[in-house]
Amino acid sequence: MAQRHALPGTNVINSQRHQSPSESPEVRRGPGLAVRNSAALLFAADMYGVQLDQLAALTGGERSARAAIARWRALGYAQTARLGPGPAWLWVTRGGITACGLRYTPAQPALGRLAHIRAVAAVRIALEATAAYQSAGPFWRCERRIRARHGVGVRQHLPDAEVHWPDEAPVAWAGECWAVEAELTAKTVARTTQIMREILSRTGDYGCAAADAAVPGRPPRHARVLYLCSPAALRTVVRARAELGPLGARVEVRDLPPGALL
C-alpha cells in the first residue's frame, strides 16, 4: 500500500509489504504494542510530516527514531517514504491522526512544500530546545491547526505557526502571542511588508468573523512576529521591516537554525 501511495521515483524505506492494522499480526496480538514517543507522533501530525533526522532529534537518537517509526507503522499510524533529497519523510495516517485526537485531513506532504515543512519543523525544534521555552511551556499552534479552523475560501495570510506564552510563564513576554514565519525564498518587499502589516494589525483569531479580523481599538493578536530567514530571503525581510516604520519594532528577524534547509 505504501508502494502504491509513494510517488514515482521515490523509495519506500521498508521494503516489506505494508499491512493495515487489522492485518498486522502484531496488532492481532492485542494491546502489547505501546505507542512510543507519542509527543513525536503529535509533532509529526502537527507539522504535516517530519524527516528522519528531525525525528531523531525529537526522540533522542536515530535508533529510537527508527524504533518509533516501526511501531507507528505497525499500528498503521504513520507512513514513510523517501520523497525528496535527504533523509526519508514520515507522515501520520488517518489512523494516527485519529489516535492523536486531531481532526486534520490526512495527506502525504506535498513535494512543493517539503523545504518549507522542514524549515518550520527545524524552527520549532530549535525554539523548543531553549531553556525559556521549556520553563514557560508555551503552546505551539501549528499552521495545520490554524488552517483546520480557518474557513475554506477565505483569502487571508496564515502564519506558519503561533506561539502562545502562558500568562503565568516566568518570562518577560508572558501572555504574548507570537506569529512565526519561516522565509525561504524572497518575495517582493511590498508583499512582505503587506504580510507583516496584516499579521501585526490582526485582532481576531483565524477563522473568526471577517468583521473581527482587524478591528481598530482592540489589542493586536500578535505581540510580535518572528521571521526566520534563509540567506536568500534575509535582505528582503529586513527591508520590509524597515518599511514598516515604528511598527517594525515588533518584527524579529533571525536566521533559520542550522540544518533547516533541505
Binding site: T130, A132, W173, P216, R254
Partner: protein, 662 residues
C-alpha cells in the same frame, strides 16, 4: 281604475322597483362571493394576510413584499410541473399532459382540480398543500390590496360606520404599530447598531409618512455627517436617542476608517447641563462608545484637559477676547484697550504664551516694553506704556476668568488624544462659565478640524444653556468645509436659540434631519416638515346613522408631521423629520456591557500622569471613594499598539536562532 292606471302608468309598482333595485345591488356581491368560494384557497390566504396586516399594523407594502418573497416557491413549482414525467407516481399537484408551456399555463387550474378532488375525499391538509403554490402569493397580494383599500378608505374619511370611525381606526392602528415595534425591540439581535449595509439603526419603525417603510429605522452614515437637531422634553428618551446616534456614528465611522474609505471619527459632546446627572451620562456614553469600537473616551474637565494655547496666535486673541463679556457704548473703549493689550501679550517676540500663567505674567507693561524693545519695535513699546494703567484691570479680569474656567483649558491635551470627548459644562450652576467654556471648546475644535484628519461630530446637548454666546449657526456655515457635523439638542423649540430667526436658521439648515421627541410645541417643526396631499371626503347621512351613497371628495394639503402624534409620543418614541417625510421610531436602548475598568485599577492613586494616559488625567473620586468614570489609555493606532512596550525576548531568540539581524 283610471286613477290606478294613471298612478302606475309610468312604471312598475314602487315595491317591485325597490326589490329589483335591491336585487341588482346584490348581484355584484353575489358574484364576488361566488368567486371567493370558487377560489377558496386564495380567499382564505387573502383574508389571513389582510387580518395579519391589520393586527401588526403593517403598511400594505410589506404584504406585497411578502407576496414577492413567496414567488421563488411558485417558480420552483412551475419548473417541477414542467419537468415532472406525467406517468410518474406521486406527481405534484398541477402535473398533467401536454407541452411544457401548456403544462405551466394549466398548472394553476390543474392544481385547483387536484385540490377540489382531495378536499372532496376529506384530505384537507393535502388539498391545502396542492393549492398552496399558486394560492399563497396571489392570496397575500389580494390581502395587501384589500388592506390598502381599507387604509385608504379610512384615511380619506370614506370608510367606517360612524363619523368618528376614521379617527378611532387611526388611533387603534397606531397602538398596534407601537406594539409591533416594541416586539421588535424585544427580539434579541433584531436591531443591531449597524445594518449589514453599514447604516445606523436607531430603532424599530412605528409608522412612516413619505419615507420608505422598513421594519428597522436605519440612517445612512452620511446623514450623521450632516447637521441634525434633536428636540425633546425631559424624560422623553432624548439621552437614549443621542447615545444611540453617537454610538452609531462611532461604529459606522470606524468601519469606514478600517476600510480605508474615511478618516478616523471623532465625537465631541458638549453636555451643557452639568452636575451629577451629566457625569452619569458621561459614564454611560463611555461604555456605549467602547462597545461601538471607540478606544478611548475623555471626560473633560474631570479627567482630561485641553490646551487653549494650541490655537494659532490670531485665533487665540479672538478667543481670549470672546471669553470675557464686553459691554457696548462707552464700554467699547475698554474693549479696544483690552484687545490691544491682549494682542501685545500674545504676539510678543518670544512667541505666543504656553499657559495661563505665562499669559498672565505677560500682562505687565514693563515686561512687554522690554520684550518689544529688544527687537526694536517702538510702536509696541509705546502702546504698552500708554496702556499701563489698564494692565491691572485686564489682568484682574483674566485671572478671574481662569479661576472660574479651571484647569480644563490649560492642560496639554488635544482632541487627537481620544476617539470621543465628553465635555461637561456646568450650564445649570454657572451659565456664564459654561458659555465661555463652550465658546473656547468650539474654537479649539474648529481649529483642530482645519487639519482635516478626522471626521468630526460635535454634539451640543442642552444647547439652550450656552446658546446666548455660542453662535452655533456660524459654525454650521463653515462646518461642511471643515468636515465637521453639528448636532444640537434642546428641550424645546425655544431652547434652540434666543431669537426666532436663529431657531429657524438652525432647524432649516439641519440637513441630516430633525429628531422630535414629545414636546408641547411641535408646530414650527411641523411647518418646516412640509405638507402632503390628502383626500378629504365628506359624506351625507341618510336617516339615523346610516351613510348615504353620496358625498364629496377633494384633495387638500395637510402637514406631513402630525403635531398631535408628537404631543402624545411615549418615552422612547421619536419622530424623525427629513426631506418632507417623517418616520416615527421606537428607539432601541443601548447599554454598555462591560465596566469601564476593573475596580482594582480604579483604586490606583492617580497622581500625575499614569502610563498610557494623557498628562493631567486623574479619575475623580465618587461617593464610595472610587472613581465614577475612568479614563481609557491614550489613543494609539491599532497597528502600532504596543510598539514601545514590547518586552525584550532576545534571551530565548538568541539562544534558538542567534543574534538579531538588522
Amino acid at each position: 281604475m283610471r286613477r290606478g292606471q294613471g298612478r302606475y302608468a309610468r312604471g312598475p309598482h314602487p315595491v317591485r322597483r325597490a326589490l329589483g333595485r335591491g336585487l341588482l345591488g346584490l348581484l355584484p356581491w353575489l358574484a364576488a362571493a361566488a368567486v371567493a368560494v370558487l377560489l377558496a384557497p386564495v380567499t382564505l390566504v387573502a383574508a389571513g394576510s389582510a387580518a395579519f396586516g391589520w393586527w401588526r399594523g403593517w403598511p400594505p407594502r410589506r404584504l406585497y413584499a411578502a407576496a414577492a418573497a413567496s414567488l421563488p416557491m411558485v417558480v420552483a413549482w412551475l419548473a417541477a410541473v414542467a419537468a415532472w414525467p406525467v406517468s410518474g407516481a406521486a406527481a405534484p399537484a398541477g402535473v398533467g399532459p401536454g407541452p411544457r408551456w401548456l403544462r405551466m399555463a394549466a398548472a394553476p387550474y390543474r392544481a385547483w382540480l387536484a385540490m377540489a378532488r382531495l378536499a372532496e375525499h376529506g384530505h384537507l391538509a393535502a388539498a391545502a398543500i396542492a393549492a398552496a403554490p399558486p394560492a399563497v402569493p396571489l392570496g397575500i397580494c389580494v390581502g395587501g390590496l384589500a388592506w390598502a383599500y381599507r387604509c385608504f378608505r379610512m384615511e380619506s374619511g370614506a370608510g367606517g360606520l360612524t363619523p368618528a370611525a376614521p379617527a378611532a381606526f387611526d388611533e387603534r392602528l397606531w397602538r398596534r404599530q407601537v406594539r409591533t415595534a416594541k416586539a421588535m425591540l424585544a427580539a434579541p439581535g433584531a436591531l443591531p447598531l449597524l445594518s449589514p449595509n453599514g447604516h445606523v439603526v436607531t430603532g424599530a419603525t412605528i409608522r412612516s409618512v413619505r419615507h420608505r417603510a422598513g421594519r428597522a429605522a436605519a440612517l445612512p452614515y452620511s446623514r450623521l455627517r450632516s447637521h441634525q437637531v434633536v428636540i425633546g422634553s425631559t424624560g422623553t428618551g432624548k439621552t437614549t436617542l443621542l447615545l444611540r446616534l453617537w454610538a452609531g456614528f462611532m461604529a459606522a465611522g470606524l468601519r469606514g476608517y478600517a476600510r480605508g474609505a474615511a478618516h478616523r471619527p471623532l465625537l465631541v459632546v458638549l453636555d451643557c447641563k452639568g452636575g451629577a446627572s451629566s457625569r452619569k451620562v458621561a459614564d454611560r456614553a463611555r461604555r456605549v462608545l467602547r462597545d461601538a469600537g471607540a478606544r478611548s473616551t475623555a471626560i473633560w474637565p474631570d479627567e482630561a484637559s485641553l490646551s487653549l494655547w494650541a490655537l494659532p496666535p490670531d485665533r487665540l486673541v479672538t478667543t481670549l477676547l470672546d471669553l470675557i463679556e464686553h459691554g457696548t457704548g462707552g464700554a467699547a473703549y475698554y474693549t479696544d484697550v483690552m484687545e490691544s493689550l491682549v494682542c501685545l501679550a500674545v504676539f510678543a517676540p518670544c512667541g505666543p504664551p504656553a499657559s495661563a500663567a505665562d499669559f498672565l505674567a505677560r500682562l505687565d507693561a514693563d515686561w512687554l516694553a522690554a520684550a518689544y524693545g529688544a527687537v526694536g519695535d517702538a510702536g509696541a513699546v509705546a502702546t504698552a506704556r500708554s496702556g499701563k494703567r489698564a494692565f491691572d484691570d485686564v489682568s484682574l479680569r483674566f485671572r478671574a476668568l481662569w479661576r472660574r474656567l479651571g484647569a480644563g483649558l490649560d492642560g496639554g491635551g488635544s482632541f487627537a488624544d481620544a476617539d470621543a470627548w465628553y465635555c461637561i459644562l456646568e450650564g445649570t450652576a454657572e451659565a456664564a462659565v459654561a458659555e465661555a467654556q463652550a465658546r473656547a471648546l468650539t474654537d479649539l475644535l474648529a481649529h483642530y478640524a482645519v487639519g482635516g484628519v478626522r471626521e468630526i461630530l460635535l454634539a451640543v446637548d442642552e444647547f439652550s444653556s450656552v446658546s446666548r454666546r455660542l453662535p452655533i449657526w456660524r459654525l454650521y456655515e463653515r462646518a461642511r468645509s471643515l468636515g465637521l457635523a453639528v448636532q444640537v439638542s434642546a428641550q424645546s423649540w425655544e431652547g434652540l436659540a434666543d431669537s426666532e430667526d436663529e431657531r429657524y436658521r438652525i432647524a432649516a439648515t439641519a440637513e441630516g434631519g430633525i429628531w422630535l421627541l414629545r414636546t408641547p410645541r411641535p408646530g414650527p417643526v411641523a411647518e418646516l416638515a412640509g405638507t402632503r396631499s390628502y383626500v378629504d371626503t365628506s359624506r351625507r347621512f341618510d336617516g339615523a346613522g346610516v351613510w348615504d351613497g353620496s358625498g364629496f371628495s377633494r384633495t387638500r394639503l395637510v402637514p406631513v408631521l402630525d403635531a398631535d402624534i408628537v404631543r402624545r409620543l411615549d418615552v422612547g418614541q421619536v419622530a424623525y423629520v427629513y426631506r418632507g417625510g417623517v418616520t416615527y421610531v421606537q428607539v432601541k436602548r443601548l447599554t454598555g456591557r462591560q465596566a469601564a475598568l476593573a475596580p482594582a485599577a480604579v483604586r490606583e492613586p492617580a497622581a500625575g500622569a499614569a502610563p498610557g494616559y494623557p498628562p493631567g488625567w486623574a479619575p475623580s473620586p465618587g461617593p464610595d471613594g472610587l472613581a465614577d468614570t475612568v479614563p481609557l489609555p491614550r489613543e494609539r493606532p491599532a497597528s502600532s499598539a504596543r510598539v514601545a512596550d514590547v518586552p525584550d525576548a532576545s534571551e530565548v531568540l538568541d539562544e534558538a536562532f542567534g543574534t538579531r539581524r538588522e
